[in-house]
Amino acid sequence: VNRSGPRALACFLRGLQMSLSKPYLAVALWLIQLLIASVLILPIGNSLHAELDRSPMAERMVANPDYGWWETIRRTHPDLLGNFPDVATGLLSPKGLRWSELPGLRGIGATAFSLVLLALVAHAFALGGMLGALREPSSSLVTFGREGMRRMPAFLIFTLAAFAAAFAAYRWIFVEAGAALAERVKDLHTEQAALAVTAVRLAGLLLALAAIKILADSVRAVWVTRPDLPPVSRFFFGVGGAFGRPLRLLGVLLLYAASTTGLYVLWLVLDPSAGGEARFALVPLILSQQVFVFVRLLVKVGYYAGISEALTRTPSPEYSYVAPDAPASRSPSLDGG
C-alpha cells in the first residue's frame, strides 16, 4: 500500500502541463476578464480622451503620471473617481477598509463595486467550465461553456459562500482585530513592534483565506470528478479531501502564489509600460500587457488542474494498491512452454 501520493510540486507541474495542453481554457478566462474590464474602462477612456487629447499636459502624461493632473481631475470630476482612490488605498492600510466610505462610491467606484458581483458569477461559471473541461480527455471551448453552465447553480453557491467567508475573515481577523488593538498598538514601545502586530494580523488573514480557498477548491474539484456520488456526499467528500490532504493542497496553492508573485515581480522589473514616448510604442505596450495576463491565466488554470490532480488522481493517491515488482529473473522456458 502506497500512502505518500504525489507531491505538491508534482501536482502543480502536472497541472501546468495540462493547462498548456488546453490553452483555450486560459483564452476563455482572458476573454471573460477582458470583457468585464472593458465595462469599467469605457467611461475612464472617454474621460481621459476628453481631458487629454487636446491638452498641452498630455505630453507630460504619455509616459508618467502627473500628480497635479490626477489631483485636479479627481477634484473637478467627483462623479468620475469619487472616493474610489481612498477606498482602494484603505484596503492596503493597517486599519483596513473603512466601511463608511462604501456608500460614498460613485462613478468608477460604484461601477467597480457592481462588477465585483458580476465577477463572482463569472468566476463560478469559469471554474465549472474549467474543471469540467480538464476532466475530459478531448475537450474544447464548447466543453468549457457546457460544463460551466451545467455546474453553475452549485458553483455559484460555493463561490458566494467562499466569498462571504473571505469577507468575514477580512472583517473580523484583520479590520475588527485591528480596531480592538489600536490603542494597545499605540502603547507599544516601537514602530517595529507595531508593524509586527500588523504582520501577525495579516498572516492570520492570509492563513484563513488560504484555508477558505483550499476548502472551496477541494469541494469544487470533487464535485466535478465524482459525479457518481449524490450531491451531499460530493460536498462532504470535498470537505474531507481538504482536511485529508491540507499540506499537499496548501503546497499547490503556495506554488501558485509564488509563481504569480514571480510574474508580477518580473513585470515590475521589466516595466514595459514605462518610458515609451513614441506613438508606435502603444502597440507593444498593449501586447505585452495582454501576453502577461495570458501567461498569468495559464498558471491559474494550472493551479486548478493541480488541485484536481492532488485530490483525485487515479489511481487514488492514498491507499492505492501497488503491485509487487515482477521477479527479476523469470525463466523464459515457462513462457515458452
Binding site: L34, A37, E51, A63, Y67, I73, L92, P94, L282
Partner: protein, 658 residues
C-alpha cells in the same frame, strides 16, 4: 617665508574668517521673564514647580489686572473650549481620555501680598463658563506704564498622555505649555486668548532660567529651550539640569531615557554658528543625518533671506512611536520632528517636518506674530519658505503608499510649491484666509487655508514680482519686525515699500478674499484662410466678383478665447504657439470675463496657453489652461490600456481568495 610671517598670515586669515561669521546680535529687552524650578514625578506624570514671573508694562496705560494662560487646563475635561471645538479628535486621531491640568497653589506679589483670592477664570473668546485656560488676576494696585513687577507662584502641572503637542508616553515627556504664562498687554488691552482646537500661541519676549529636577534614569537625556548651564546630582538619586535662554517667548523641555543624543553644528560664512542637538529614538538612528541635514538646510535657507538665527543652540526632538501628537511642533530653540521607521529616502518624511519646524524659529520665533489671530503669518509664511528650502535642497518629493504600515515610494513626483499645497483647492471658498484661527469652518479648512493658501499666495506673488524682489520684501519685513509682533498690514507695507509699488489689490484678492482663481482656454481653432464670399465693390459697382487681391488668401485663420472662470481676477499671460516656431505672447489684466485673440492669414496655430509660465499658482484648475488645435491620442490611449490591464489583474486578484 619665515615661520613668523607664516604665523602672522595664518592669524590674519583666521581673523578674516572669524569676521566673516556673524556674531550673535543683541537680543531683545525682556518684557516677560521667568525663573522656574521644577521637579518631574515621572510615575505620577506631574511637574511640581515654583515660578517667579517678572513682567514689565510696556504700554502707555496702567494695568489693573494680569491675565495668565493656563494652557494645560484645555485637557482638564470635555467641557473645555478645546475639547468642544475638537470634538475629541486632533492631530493624532482620537484624543485619549487622559486628563491634564495646571493648578496654581500659591500666588504672591513682589510685596508678598496674596494674589490668589483675586484670581478668576475668564473666557474672552467664547464665553464658555467651563473653560479654565485663561485666568485674570486683580492686582492690589495697577502697574504703571514702564513699571516692572514680580509675581511668585507655586503650581502643579498634570501632563496628559501625548495627543496634542504636550504630554507623556511611558517615560517620554514633552513638557510644553506647562507653566502659568502671562498674556500680551497691548494698547487696546490684554491679548490673551483661550486654548482652541485650531490655534497656537502668542507671548512676549523675555529671559528664561529654568531648573529641571528629574529621576536619575533621565541623566543626559534631557533637552530644553536654550543652553544647558548646569548638571548636578540632587538628593534621592535625582539629577538637576539648568537651562537658560534670553530673548525668547516660550520654554519647553523634554526627557526620555531612550534618547540617543547626537551633537552636531551649523557653520556657514555670513551666518552665526549654531550647536545642533539631536535627541533621536534608537529605531530612527539611521535617519539622524537626515534630521541634521534638514536642520542645517533650514538654518541656511531661512538665514540667507531673513537674517541669521541668533541663538547658540537648536535642539531637535524625535518623538517615539505612539507619541506622534508631540511631533511637528516648534518652540524657541527646540523643535519636534517625526518620522517613520520605514521612511524611504526618496520621500522627505523627516526632512520636510524638520525644515518646517526649524523655519518656525524665524516665523514665530523671531518674527513673533499672533498665532491666534493671524496664523497665516507664521504657518503660511513658513510653509512658503519650507517649500523653497526643500525644493532647492532636495528637489521634488515623492508620493508614497502606506502598505500595511510600510511606506512604499511610488515614484510619482510632488513638485514644490504647487503639488503639496493642492489640498487648498478643495476648500478654496470655505473661508476667508484672514480669519482668527478658531473661526474657520473646521480644522480641515483652517489648515488648508492657513498653510497651503498662504504658501500658494506668496509663491504667486514671488512669480509676479520676481524672486529677488520677493527676497528683498521678506528681508525688509524680517528686519523691521525681528523680536517684535507684526501684523498682516505690516507685511503688506514691507512689500509695498521694498518694491515701490502698491500691491494692496493683490492681498485684497487673496488674504482678504475667499474667491477662486481659474483661467481657461475655452476655444482654440485654426483653419486655412478662405476667400470671402458675397458682394464686393469693384469699379464703383457692387457685384459678386471677388477682387483679385482677396481671391487667394494665404495662411491660416486662428481664433482663441480665454475665459476667467473664477471670481478673482489676476493678471495673466496668454501664449499662442504657431507652426514654424512663431510665438505670440500677450499680457491680459484678467479683469473681464473673457478675451478673444484672432490671427488672420498667419501660420497654423498649434496651441494656446493661459499663464504658460505657471505664475498664478492659485489657479484652481490648470488642466483647462491650454488647448491644442490637433488631437494627440497617445496619453489617453496609453492610460486606458494601463487601466484595462490593471483591472484585469484586480479581477484576478479579487477572485483568488474564493
Amino acid at each position: 617665508m619665515s615661520p613668523a610671517k607664516v604665523r602672522a598670515l595664518a592669524l590674519a586669515l583666521l581673523g578674516a574668517a572669524a569676521a566673516a561669521r556673524v556674531r550673535a546680535e543683541p537680543l531683545p529687552p525682556a518684557v516677560a521673564s521667568y525663573q522656574i524650578t521644577c521637579r518631574l514625578d515621572a510615575d505620577k506624570k506631574i511637574v511640581e514647580a515654583t515660578e517667579v514671573l517678572t513682567w514689565k508694562n510696556t504700554t502707555s496705560r496702567a494695568a489693573a489686572t494680569l491675565r495668565l494662560h493656563l494652557y494645560l487646563n484645555a485637557f482638564r475635561n470635555t467641557l473645555s473650549t478645546f475639547w468642544r471645538e475638537s470634538r475629541g479628535e486632533h492631530r493624532d486621531g482620537r484624543i485619549p481620555e487622559s486628563w491634564g491640568s495646571i493648578e496654581i497653589l500659591r500666588m504672591t506679589g513682589s510685596d508678598g501680598a496674596d494674589l490668589l483670592p483675586g484670581m478668576r477664570y475668564i473666557s474672552p473668546d467664547d464665553g464658555n463658563p467651563h473653560d479654565r485656560t485663561v485666568a485674570e488676576v486683580v492686582l492690589p494696585r495697577p502697574v504703571a506704564p514702564g513699571e516692572t513687577i514680580s509675581v511668585a507662584m507655586d503650581f502643579v502641572s498634570r501632563l496628559p498622555r501625548v495627543s496634542v503637542r504636550t504630554g507623556y508616553k511611558d517615560d517620554f515627556f514633552l513638557v510644553a505649555q506647562w507653566f502659568p504664562k502671562i498674556g500680551v498687554l497691548q494698547e487696546r488691552g490684554w491679548n490673551c486668548h483661550q486654548y482652541h482646537a485650531s490655534s497656537e500661541f502668542f507671548s512676549d519676549f523675555g529671559d528664561y532660567d529654568v531648573s529641571i529636577d528629574v529621576p536619575a534614569r533621565f541623566r543626559g537625556k534631557v533637552g530644553a529651550t536654550g543652553r544647558r548651564v548646569d548638571e548636578r546630582e540632587t538628593s534621592g538619586g535625582r539629577v538637576l539640569y539648568r537651562f537658560k535662554q534670553n530673548g525668547v517667548h516660550d520654554f519647553t523641555w523634554t526627557a526620555d531615557p531612550d534618547y540617543l543624543v547626537i551633537q552636531d553644528s551649523f557653520r556657514e560664512a555670513g551666518l552665526a554658528d549654531v550647536d545642533l542637538i539631536l535627541l533621536v529614538q534608537p529605531e530612527h538612528e539611521s535617519q539622524a543625518e537626515r534630521y541634521l541635514r534638514a536642520a542645517r538646510a533650514a538654518l541656511s535657507g531661512y538665514g540667507r533671506i531673513l537674517g541669521a538665527y541668533p541663538y547658540p543652540t537648536l535642539t531637535i526632538v524625535d518623538p517615539p512611536w505612539g507619541a506622534r501628537g508631540a511631533g511637528g511642533m516648534e518652540y524657541p530653540t527646540l523643535v519636534t520632528g517625526g518620522t517613520s521607521w520605514s521612511a524611504p529616502s526618496s520621500v522627505q518624511r523627516p526632512e520636510a517636518v524638520t525644515v518646517h519646524e526649524t523655519g518656525h524659529q524665524f516665523f514665530y520665533g523671531l518674527i513673533a506674530s499672533n498665532e491666534f489671530e493671524e496664523a497665516w503669518l507664521d504657518e503660511g509664511f513658513n510653509t512658503y519658505m519650507t517649500d523653497r528650502v526643500l525644493a532647492s535642497t532636495y528637489g521634488p518629493n515623492h508620493v508614497s503608499l502606506d502598505v500595511f504600515g510600510l511606506h512604499v515610494p511610488l515614484g510619482i513626483e510632488i513638485r514644490y510649491p504647487l503639488d503639496p499645497n493642492r489640498r487648498y483647492f478643495e476648500v478654496a471658498d470655505w473661508d476667508v484666509l484672514a480669519s482668527a484661527s478658531w473661526k474657520f469652518r473646521n480644522r480641515e479648512s483652517y489648515s488648508r487655508q492657513i498653510y497651503s493658501k498662504t504658501a500658494l499666495t506668496l509663491a504667486t506673488l514671488e512669480r509676479l514680482m520676481g524672486t529677488p524682489a520677493m527676497n528683498r520684501a521678506l528681508r525688509l519685513y524680517a528686519d523691521r519686525w525681528r523680536f517684535r509682533h507684526p501684523t498682516t498690514r505690516d507685511f503688506i507695507a514691507a512689500v509695498n515699500d521694498s518694491t515701490g509699488r502698491n500691491w494692496n489689490w493683490f492681498f485684497d484678492r487673496t488674504f482678504f478674499s475667499s474667491g477662486i482663481v481659474d483661467y481657461a482656454v475655452a476655444e482654440a481653432e485654426t483653419e486655412p484662410a478662405r476667400p470671402p464670399r458675397g458682394l464686393f465693390e469693384q469699379d464703383g459697382r457692387l457685384g459678386p466678383t471677388l477682387p483679385a487681391a482677396l481671391a487667394k488668401p494665404r495662411g491660416w485663420d486662428s481664433r482663441v478665447t480665454v475665459v476667467r472662470r473664477g471670481d478673482v481676477p489676476m493678471p495673466v499671460d496668454v501664449l499662442l504657439r504657431f507652426e514654424g516656431g512663431h510665438v505670440y505672447r500677450s499680457r491680459w489684466n484678467g479683469e473681464a470675463r473673457w478675451k478673444r485673440f484672432r490671427v488672420a492669414g498667419g501660420p497654423r496655430l498649434i496651441e494656446a496657453i493661459v499663464d504658460p509660465d505657471e505664475k498664478i499658482l492659485l489657479d484652481a484648475d490648470r488642466t483647462n489652461n491650454g488647448l491644442e488645435t490637433r488631437d494627440d491620442l497617445r496619453a489617453a490611449t496609453r492610460w486606458s490600456a494601463r487601466a484595462v490591464f490593471w483591472v484585469q489583474n484586480m479581477i484576478d486578484f479579487m477572485t483568488v481568495a474564493w
